[in-house]
């Protein structure tokens, strides 16, 4: 939500600043940090997020960075952004548009200004607006002087000069000084929003432990920024956003990728089996590999494979040996893993494939989110090869889904696909840390008794086959990709046996529906005018849009699916209770197709394929149009 215009008015100083300025209380702000990818805006954003979480606000973040690590400085391609919504109320999304925009150079301004509403606050590093930088950003005249920014509240600050004077005594070179500018800006914003600063000071202390002069410089820059806010005449007041009402408990700020990694660790610990991750670096999935590589003592094996295929196949090998085998990737890697996933389907070994979706096709936009891999997860293999599919709806929910994926994989002896996306992967939110004792049990029982052992003798309820691992005397047996005989697993070309095995595997996966809890309907459980259906990272946006419309008296409800295959057993009946069904996805309508095919319901789509999440306002207007139609 945008900051009300009067807030911005109050921000503008009259020139009568004292040492103790008034503090104005506001329910919510959305800040976007934008600069060159070398300007440290992600870092500043993350640190501001931590400060805000520690201040007790509810928060949601959206990093938005280019795929190039260091695109040419000052260019549009090199602009890196980080948006944070912090509030004294419950927060569902990082916010449609910023109320405060920090722009470190003309390119950052050019890329982001269209999102800033009139009267929005614009904090600009004046010195970044050189002729060369203006030209690189495509400006023909300087927006700082040509009155094109008159409708905003503009604060032009000489960040470089102020930072340089703060750290001058330390004798650092220009490059090192410039790298402290983000902490100056962070200090200024910390003052402006009355954030507790200890976490940043602690961070600087540990991050630059090995280079004391750099540590000192960043600390000085940070404090200088803070004091600048207090002393400059530009700002008449600062703001506070009171703590949100949050359930009591122990919290940590967590990104989706970290939550995914921790969910796997937790599942491994609960199951008592070692975790093996086979993975090949790919944006935006690599952080899961990085995270898990640090937890060797659990034990966790991480194997940076030679390619995506070796990533998944090594995990299959580990699963054959009794470990929890997982692989993590993004869209292009999913394509490469398809054949191996089919092998895991056929030999019925547990395996977890995490697809952290990004905008495609092909290399697409690696750092931007999309939800266009659903049908690939459903059908992207040759032959009949059904796989359970889970999707996480928030960064913290990645923990639950990763855990659940392992539980289902080992219980049903099947590969499981976990879908998250780049938005969840890098977005952060407060997470109520669970007590490990309250997590569900994950029971792993290897077959050890040779008496009556057959590799494909199935459990009557789950239809899963025994997990019989090498090293077990008397259970020596062979498995493989060739069609195999019911019970014995011996190679078989029998036509009727093949159909039976295909149908058995399909029944096994369909039976996982028994694990899915009753579907939660936000809104009118008994039915109404429109049901908005979504999955994955759109959760917050969809929930907020439906909340807003319900407040206006509209009969709109929301169901957000975690399980995409199998779909919940009560889902069809729920869909039929509503006059209209709209499916919102960041794709061309993939869940929509599944719903139309499975339930013969004339659902409509709400779609966006821009590598950007929906805005709440976009979803609201689509729903309103559908209601009128």
């Amino acid at each position: 939500m945008a900051v009300p215009p009067e807030t911005a008015q109050q921000l503008a100083g009259s020139g009568a600043a004292g040492s103790h300025k008034p503090v104005v209380s506001k329910p919510q702000f959305v800040i976007r940090f934008a600069g060159d990818s070398g300007d440290g805006m992600q870092l500043a954003g993350m640190q501001f997020t931590t400060e805000s979480a520690l201040a007790g606000n509810d928060i949601a973040t959206l990093p938005d960075f280019p795929a190039e690590i260091r695109a040419p400085a000052g260019t549009l391609a090199g602009v890196s952004g980080f948006q944070l919504n912090f509030s004294s109320q419950e927060v569902f999304t990082p916010g449609d548009e910023p109320s405060v925009l920090v722009a470190m150079n003309p390119a950052a301004l050019m890329v982001n200004l269209e999102d800033l509403p009139p009267n929005g606050v614009l904090i600009i590093d004046k010195e970044g607006f050189t002729d060369a930088n203006l030209k690189k950003a495509g400006y023909t005249s300087n927006p700082l002087t040509d009155h094109s920014l008159d409708k905003y509240q503009v604060f032009q600050i000489e960040v470089s000069k102020l930072t340089t004077s703060a750290v001058r005594e330390l004798g650092l070179n220009t490059r090192a000084v410039n790298r402290c500018r983000n902490f100056f800006v962070l200090g200024l914003l910390s003052w402006l929003f009355q954030r507790p600063t200890k976490s940043v000071e602690d961070y600087i202390g540990s991050r630059f432990k090995k280079t004391p002069d750099v540590m000192e410089a960043n600390l000085r820059a940070f404090k200088a920024g803070y004091n600048y806010g207090e002393t400059t005449e530009a700002f008449a007041s600062s703001f506070e956003v009171k703590p949100a009402e949050i359930a009591p408990g122990f919290y940590r700020n967590i990104t989706g990728n970290t939550a995914t990694a921790l969910g796997f660790v937790a599942a491994s610990a609960k199951s008592g089996r070692p975790l093996f991750l086979g993975s090949y670096p790919i944006t935006p999935a690599s952080d899961v590999l990085h995270e898990l590589s640090a937890f060797k003592n659990f034990p966790i094996y991480t194997f940076q494979a030679e390619d995506e295929i070796a990533g998944v196949t090594s995990a299959i090998g580990a699963a054959f040996g009794g470990a929890i085998g997982i692989t993590t990737t993004s869209g292009p890697g999913m394509n490469l893993k398809a054949e191996a996933i089919g092998l895991a389907v056929k030999v019925e070994l547990p395996l977890i494939i995490t697809d952290i979706q990004r905008a495609g096709p092909s290399t697409g936009m690696p750092t931007k989110p999309e939800q266009a891999d659903l049908l690939m997860a459903m059908y992207g293999r040759h032959g009949e090869s059904p796989i359970p599919i889970l999707s996480a709806s928030t960064p913290a929910d990645c923990f639950n889904c990763a855990f659940e994926a392992v539980r289902i994989a080992v219980k049903y002896m099947t590969p499981v696909i976990l879908l998250t996306d780049g938005h969840l992967a890098n977005g952060a939110e407060p997470w109520l840390v669970p007590d490990p004792d309250t997590l569900p049990e994950i029971k792993v029982e290897f077959r050890t008794d040779p008496e009556g052992f057959m590799p494909y003798l199935r459990d009557e309820e789950t239809l899963s086959r025994p997990w019989a691992i090498p090293g077990t005397p008397g259970l020596e047996h062979r498995i493989g990709g060739l069609s195999s005989e019911h019970l014995t697993g011996n190679v078989s070309y029998s036509p009727s046996n093949n159909e039976m095995m295909v149908r058995l595997r399909a029944r096994k996966i369909a039976g996982i529906a028994r694990e899915i809890p009753e579907t939660e309907i936000f809104g009118d459980a008994q039915g109404g005018d429109l049901l908005l259906v979504g999955w994955g990272s759109t959760y917050g946006t969809l929930r907020e849009a439906v909340t807003n419309l319900r407040a206006k008296g509209k009969s709109v409800s929301h169901v957000h699916l975690r399980w995409l295959n199998p779909l919940p057993t009560d889902f069809g009946a729920i869909l039929r209770r509503f006059k209209k069904v709209m499916v919102a996805e960041m794709n061309m309508g993939q869940l929509l197709k599944m719903i139309r095919a499975d339930y013969l319901i004339d659902a409509v789509g709400c779609n966006k394929i821009q590598g950007r999440p929906f805005k709440v306002s976009e979803v609201e207007s689509r729903i309103l149009r559908a209601l009128e139609a």
């Binding site: 919290y251 940590r252 060797k296 034990p299 196949t313 054959f320 090498p470």
Partner: protein, 332 residues
């Protein structure tokens, strides 16, 4: 208990379905014969294969087995060996499976030195898909897919393996029962990735490809048996040898002033010599035996050592405290 096992204990109940006369039968027989001598409990033996004629191998071994997908056996075996280092993991592959579709995995498993025993059956042809040329087929090879002759320059499996700094590189021949058994035992005894190329006759699509080294009548003149510490001699009467002429090896006849002292002495630990021998192609004799064997840390041992070290320095993983790390706060 393991010593009480016999060849029969390693024969599965599945009917062997290679073409009659295929060289794979001979290799299977030698592996089954050697197994009881290795002293490994049968339940700890795992055979992993990809796709192709050779890759049917695991079905016929009464051990744990996994017939996987084309080219990926080394990667699957890596995941298994890392997490279950006590297992005896074998990879069975072919020239197509291991050097074409799976070439990437093969070179990486060799350079990493994962403790796997890799048997590459080289018949210089695609058998299962009925006779296309393979990455080891010679230039000019006429096959169904190369009616005008292949213009595709072949891989030499030995020098590919040496190029990755594989720690054990050897070659044997399907019909050389005794030699093959000995080399399999050597490969098994080696700690690290053992790469064994087995020249294997495909009597349907590429019959006689290795006649010069397998035909009893002529093989003595074409086969150079490598023995560590011994001069490189060959020939029916052991009357020929390899001598260095400057930087180039040449075949010389012993006698008339040339003695064994003039010959190159094989040294398995000399990588440069191994490369030189690896490049021997007719009219030079074809070397069989161990080209290169060296001891270097295995990947699986190093990875597991890191895990052990982490446990020692950080203590065993504790979930509760792990979850509570990072930017945390309490709400009361």
């Amino acid at each position: 208990m393991a010593t009480a096992l016999t060849r029969k204990d390693f024969v599965s109940d599945q009917e062997v379905r290679w073409c009659p006369g295929c060289g794979d039968y001979a290799i299977l027989a030698q592996v089954q014969k050697v197994m009881p001598e290795l002293g490994v409990p049968r339940e700890n033996v795992v055979f992993i294969s990809g796709i192709g004629c050779s890759s049917r191998f695991p079905y016929y071994m009464n051990t744990y087995g996994f017939h996987t997908i084309h080219g990926r056996a080394p990667a699957i075996a890596t995941g298994l060996k890392l997490t279950r280092p006590e297992l005896d993991v074998w990879v069975v592959t072919g020239d197509g499976d291991g050097l074409s579709i799976g070439g990437n995995h093969l070179i990486h498993v060799l350079r990493r030195n994962v403790d796997l025993k890799i048997l590459l059956f080289n018949n210089k042809i695609y058998g299962l898909t009925k006779g296309q040329y393979s990455p080891t087929s010679e230039v000019g090879k006429v096959t169904k897919s190369t009616p005008a002759g292949s213009v595709d320059f072949p891989f030499n499996p030995i020098t590919v393996a040496l190029g990755t700094h594989a720690s054990f590189v050897a070659r044997s021949v399907d019909v050389e029962q005794k030699h093959l058994q000995d080399i399999i035992k050597r490969a098994h005894a080696h700690r690290g990735a053992s790469f064994l190329e087995i020249l294997q006759n495909c009597n349907i699509f590429n019959d006689g490809a290795f006649n010069d080294v397998s035909d009893k009548a002529i093989k003595a003149e074409h086969q150079l048996v490598l023995e560590h510490g011994k001069p490189l001699t060959f020939g029916k009467n052991r009357d020929k040898g390899i001598r260095m002429n400057g930087m180039r090896p040449e075949v010389v006849k012993l006698g008339e002033g040339i003695t064994e002292k003039d010959l190159v002495v094989h040294d398995e630990t000399n990588l440069s010599l191994a490369f030189m021998l690896g490049h021997f192609e007719p009219p030079m004799p074809t070397p069989v035996g161990v080209f290169y064997a060296t001891s270097r840390p295995t990947y699986d041992a190093a990875i597991n050592a890191q895990l052990e070290q982490a446990k020692k320095t950080q203590g065993p993983g504790e979930l509760r405290s792990l979850l509570r790390r990072g930017d945390t706060w309490s709400v009361k």
